[in-house]
């Protein structure tokens, strides 16, 4: 599963780690994150994220 990076602050969402700050468990793909999900560091919306290889 691909990682995604926040274009606003550089935070990297790693599906293997999930996102404890937003109560997202490990194993959730970025596309499956709820629409309401925001960057845990800077609160930017999903649309601000780029796929990272």
């Amino acid at each position: 599963m691909k990682k995604y990076i926040c274009a606003n602050c550089g935070y990297v969402y790693d599906p293997e780690k999930g996102d404890p700050m937003n109560a997202i468990p490990p194993g959730m793909a970025f596309a499956d994150l709820p629409e309401a999900w925001v960057c845990p560091m800077c609160y930017a919306a999903k649309s601000q994220f780029d796929e990272l290889d």
């Binding site: 274009a7 602050c9 700050m21 937003n22 309401a36 999900w37 609160y43 796929e51």
Partner: protein, 1125 residues
């Protein structure tokens, strides 16, 4: 040799700059003032002393004082006959020091670039080769343990030096490791224009010990190049920078990077990029080397897994043989045998015309150009050399030397600085020619196309083709020292268009042979002269057949193809029926048993209309000037713009050019952006083309035409100084046919009203960054209404939301009030206005998605955290922070993606990586260099430590008997966090707090605005955003300094990502940000820190000026992290 097998090899520091510091008497130079190499003879003790100092500091290898000890440079002092003596003396000086201080150390014979640039024709190959051979011979004979070809500026010079090194060592029967070190200028290339990839491609075939960079800049300036080499170079990488970029202070040249900072940056290169050879160039002293050696003790270089892609190169750029989207296209038109036009130009001695043929192919998308000058009656060698030189200087793409004459080939290889491909060799004469040319390819580092022709003639069957290829492979690789990747096998193509039954399967055989060669000779490449397959057929059917055949060949594994790049049709664009007849012909399949595939093919195409040729901007072009202008807008290409506009003015009026060509093209650009197919920086370049065009056309516009189009008044509201967003709106709208009146920043409502009426605008646009500005907008709506305004108002700014605009702004104004998230939304609003569909923003609470609120759900803030002891109480100013210290703290991802707009969009991973590597990173490093050189950054900090205690939601700060209250908001939902909680109350014993105000000065913002005023939109965005990120980097850096001073700096963030997620103790909170949005706190901050002394002031809305300034409160509590209220 133990040292050379070590994990890390530490070289020494500078020679010249340190000799200056030794204050040797002028008499040491005798009659040869300025020739430092003479000191090896006249003052050997001083040289040995300097060497000794470096050995004592930890150097393992000493570079001899022979930078200018070739006869070319020594001739300037009349010392050209003492090359052997001087080089031998230099080696001995180093040996003396080694015997005395460090017997295990080694001597590197340094070979400098001389003062001549052979790529520019300053000196012929032979002359420079003689000079280098002399110096190399002297150094090796004198016992140098290795050779260092350093400070290289010219790729041709590098090549000549390498050829001489290996030739001399073979002649002497003595071999030592050879290192190459390049100097890359501020432009991101070597002096003559080669980028690092081009140099690496040309150097790679030679058995060098390492490649690297030295001189020109400090470590930071080398980062992208070192990273490139780290990822690609299949060997050791060296890095020997200056002690920072030199600055002239009070008439003296100063290298500002201090030993510890130098060592830290070098350590990062070793740990992150796997650099394993380090040292210092100009400005580095023994102290620098001592810090370097110390910093590296116990350190291992990062594990590297370099991925080298065999490549060709021009003087300027490298081209991978295995393209991401194969094949490598080799343009075939510069061939005296294959092209009448080229032949005629040659016969007329029209070399510039011949070059043009190559330039056109480059424009058509060729990756390399084949050059063949063999024609009866012409001197092939003379033509080849002259044109190779011209091609080398003028083409971005590499050259393929198409000749079978070894003398001509060698002459051409000695002329071209990059890595060439020789077309071709074969086994026709049993192998004599093959041997000569393969050995030549080895000597000059070239690649070779090998045709499957043996003594019996051209190989026709699959078996024979493969067997011939194998025979050539075994000789070239087994005997003549080439590598498999140096070979491109051409298994020959024969025409299927002649009707000759013995060739009916020829195309099929070729395809099969390609498959076999790829499978049985792994590591080699394949090439093909595609057009041969269609010889004898009609031109338009040839084009289709060639394209289909090329597609099939690539599927079979073809790597490179010699074609007319302008005539290649993408397979997917070829109609089904065309494809079918081509494939049947290629694979010799009959649809109808009575009709041969060739007959079917010919009949099919004789019924068809002419297929369109690829549009090109030349005389025979089918493309209209109108189409060319639109293309220039979309491509952001200003070349020849004015000439094109002049042509267009003879065809239609200026106003029509603007409204019918420029504006629609710019709209298309906006659509591409909206679809993620174009990135913001490119949009700005397109806008620049429109701006320049309109500027050129203005004198031709009639009065009323000049004022046509909807008018917008644009302003940043009172108290707010931010304008990058507003200016982007200005750029976008004014280049989409709208007239924009930009009133600037801090504009009071009264002025907005006055100007809106005066200019009779159709729409008002208001911008503001601060939370306060949103309130200002809300409160000014009734004012605008009272003044009788009814035109639509567009609101934009980071603090605004759809909800806020709909619920708090719309009701206060009779006309439409519309929230615009960015400049493109503003553009869409203008279009809606024109079509009469613009309506106020509405907020649907039911449908809206409530964003999550990240953060721990339950947290008890511990009350017994230890309170650190501050180094002082009160405020201080720090003004000697070097900009280069900040660069490592820049958040590159936020800068590249967020601020500059280089988002991934629809690009593939490889495409994006390439964009960043080839365009963005060099631009970024160029900005770093420029801002340092021009003094655009003046980092200064006002900060301090104060006693404090929390009192409920307020933090009370004590400063010399005065108290300042900082009320902070508290989260309404669990865990109800508030910044004040991170500090102990009075009962708990009180606490310590730190504040800072950090600025990079006003100059960078001013310089950015100059660019905006000059309509240099792209550069404006780049510089402004860079300034913002450096200001943030300064905040990050100073926060780290504070952690250090408080003794809580133990936990260190791992890489840039670590800073983003706050892998350190405590947190800083910026005023105006979610956990303390009220800027009025600035009043107290300013009373505590007196930032006026570093040039920072406050607007009436408590915003800091200059713009590139940040402020923060710093909490040390282990549980303190970002949160939103």
């Amino acid at each position: 040799m133990g040292v050379l097998n070590g994990k890390i090899i530490v070289f020494d520091g500078a020679c010249g700059t340190n000799l200056q510091r030794m204050h040797l008497p002028a008499s040491a130079w005798g009659r040869y003032a300025g020739c430092n190499e003479y000191l090896n003879l006249s003052a050997p003790d001083a040289i040995s002393e300097l060497h000794g100092a470096f050995l004592a500091a930890g150097s393992m290898v000493l570079e001899t004082n022979t930078f200018g000890a070739s006869d070319i440079v020594l001739a300037e002092y009349g010392l050209q006959d003492r090359v052997e003596e001087i080089n031998a003396a230099a080696v001995e000086c180093a040996r003396v020091a080694i015997r005395r201080h460090q017997p295990d150390a080694l001597v590197a014979g340094a070979v400098g670039p001389t003062t001549k640039l052979p790529s520019l024709g300053h000196i012929p190959f032979e002359e420079m080769a003689r000079s280098f051979s002399g110096q190399i011979r002297a150094l090796v004979t004198a016992g140098a343990d290795l050779l260092l070809i350093e400070t290289c500026q010219d790729l041709q010079q590098v090549k000549i030096a390498l050829v001489c090194c290996f030739e001399e060592m073979e002649r002497l029967g003595k071999s030592v490791p050879v290192m190459v070190s390049l100097t890359v200028e501020n432009t991101g290339t070597m002096l003559v224009g080669s980028d690092v990839a081009a140099a690496a491609a040309a150097i790679e075939p030679f058995p060098v010990f390492s490649i690297g960079l030295n001189c020109a800049t400090g470590p930071e300036g080398m980062k992208s190049h070192i990273r490139y080499l780290s990822r690609r170079w299949p060997g050791r990488v060296s890095c020997i920078p200056n002690a920072g970029m030199p600055q002239v202070i009070d008439g003296r040249t100063v290298y500002p990077l201090a030993p510890e900072a130098f060592a830290a940056q070098m350590k990062a290169f070793v740990e992150e990029e796997g650099v394993s050879i380090v040292g210092g160039c100009c400005g580095t002293t023994p102290e620098h080397i001592r810090c370097l050696a110390k910093a590296l003790s116990g350190v291992s270089p990062a594990q590297r897994r370099p991925q080298w892609e065999p490549s060709l190169s021009s003087l300027y750029q490298a081209v991978e043989i295995r393209q991401e989207i194969p094949p490598l296209l080799i343009g075939e038109r510069a061939n005296a045998n294959g092209s009448r036009r080229f032949r005629d130009l040659l016969l007329a001695d029209d070399y510039p015309g011949a070059l043009k043929v190559a330039l056109e192919q480059q424009e058509d998308g060729a990756h390399a150009v084949d050059l063949c000058t063999a024609y009866a009656g012409r001197d092939e060698k003379a033509d080849l050399v002259a044109l190779t030189r011209l091609f080398a200087q003028s083409l971005k793409i590499p050259t393929v030397i198409d000749s079978t004459g070894p003398d001509s080939i060698e002459a051409a290889l000695r002329t071209h600085p990059g890595r060439c491909l020789v077309n071709s060799v074969n086994l026709e004469d049993g192998g004599k020619n093959l041997e000569r040319i393969c050995r030549m390819a080895k000597k000059y580092g070239a690649a070779v196309i090998a045709l499957t022709i043996n003594e019996k003639g051209m190989a026709m069957s699959v078996e024979e083709k493969v067997a011939t290829a194998r025979a050539i492979h075994d000789l070239a690789v087994g005997r003549y020292g080439l590598r498999p990747s140096d070979l491109l096998f051409d298994v020959l193509t024969f025409t299927v268009g002649s009707g000759d039954p013995s060739l009916a399967d020829a195309a099929k055989t070729t395809l099969a042979a390609i498959r076999y060669v790829k499978a049985e000779l792994p590591g080699t490449f394949t090439s093909l002269g595609v057009s041969n397959v269609s010889f004898g057929l009609s031109p338009r059917s040839r084009r289709v057949l060639n394209s289909v055949f090329l597609h099939e060949a690539v599927e079979a594994g073809l790597d490179a193809a010699i074609v007319d790049a302008a005539k290649v049709l993408p397979f997917v664009r070829i109609p089904e029926e065309d494809r079918r007849v081509c494939l049947d012909l290629i694979y010799n399949r009959r649809k109808d048993p009575q009709v041969s595939p060739l007959a079917d093919f010919v009949r099919h195409f004789s019924d068809k209309k002419e297929a369109g040729s690829k549009p090109s901007g030349r005389e025979e072009s089918a493309q209209s000037p109108e189409e060319r202008l639109s293309e220039k807008v979309v491509a952001g290409d200003k070349d020849g713009l004015e000439d094109l506009l002049e042509i267009l003015l003879t065809r239609r009026p200026a106003a029509a050019i603007i409204n019918e060509l420029l504006v629609p093209a710019m709209r298309h650009v906006g659509d591409l952006f909206g679809r993620g197919e174009m990135l913001l920086p490119f949009v700005l370049q397109s806008a620049e083309v429109v701006r320049q065009s309109v500027h050129h056309l203005e004198p031709h516009l009639a009065g009323e035409e000049r004022d046509a189009g909807r008018k917008m008044l644009l302003a940043t509201v009172a108290g707010d100084v931010h304008d990058i967003g507003k200016n982007l709106v200005d750029i976008l709208l004014s280049n989409n046919g709208y007239k924009v009146y930009n009133l600037g920043i801090k504009v009071p409502a009264e002025t907005i009203i006055e100007k809106a009426l005066e200019y009779a605008v159709d729409v008002i646009g208001l911008s503001g960054l601060l939370v306060k500005s949103a309130i200002v907008m809300q409160e000014s709506m009734p004012q605008y209404a009272a003044a009788g305004l009814t035109v639509p108002i567009l609101l934009g700014g980071a603090a605004l939301t759809e909800k806020f605009v709909a619920e708090c702004c719309v009701p206060g104004y009779p006309g439409p009030v519309v929230y615009c998230a960015d400049a493109f939304a503003g553009l869409a609003a203008m279009r809606a206005l024109e079509s009469g569909t613009l309506a106020s923003t509405r907020y649907d609470a039911g449908a809206a998605v409530q964003p999550l609120k990240p953060g721990a759900r339950s947290e008890r803030i511990s009350r017994d955290h230890p309170v650190p002891v501050p180094p002082f109480l009160g405020a201080r100013r720090v003004t000697d922070i070097g900009a280069e210290t900040l660069f490592p703290y820049i958040n590159e991802q936020a800068l590249f993606r967020g601020r500059w707009g280089y988002r991934r969009g629809k690009l593939s991973a490889a495409e994006y990586d390439r964009l960043i590597r080839e365009k963005v990173r060099p631009m970024y490093e160029g900005l770093q260099r420029r801002t340092v050189e021009e003094g655009l950054l003046r980092p200064e900090v006002a900060y301090g430590y104060f006693r404090c205690f929390s009192d409920g939601d307020t933090l009370v700060v004590e400063d010399g008997g005065k108290r300042h209250a900082f009320p902070f908001p508290r989260q309404s939902a669990p865990p109800h966090l508030c910044i004040a909680d991170y500090f102990k109350s009075r009962e708990e014993g009180g606490d310590v707090v730190s504040f800072f105000v950090a600025t990079v000065g006003a100059r960078i913002g001013e310089s950015a605005h100059e660019l905006f005023s000059a309509d240099r939109y792209h550069d404006y965005l780049m510089l402004h955003a860079f300034g913002v990120e450096v200001a943030d980097a300064l905040a990050e850096y100073w926060h780290e300094v504070i952690r250090g001073e408080l003794g809580i700096g133990g936990q260190k963030p791992e890489g840039p990502g670590g800073y983003v997620v706050q892998e350190y103790q405590g947190s800083r909170y910026g005023f105006g940000y979610p956990s303390c949005p009220d800027l009025s706190a600035h009043k107290a901050v300013f009373e505590l820190l007196h930032p006026g002394e570093i040039g920072v002031t406050l607007t009436e809305a408590m915003e800091m000026v200059p713009e590139h300034t940040t402020s923060a409160i710093v909490a040390h509590h282990p549980q303190a992290k970002y949160f939103a209220v």
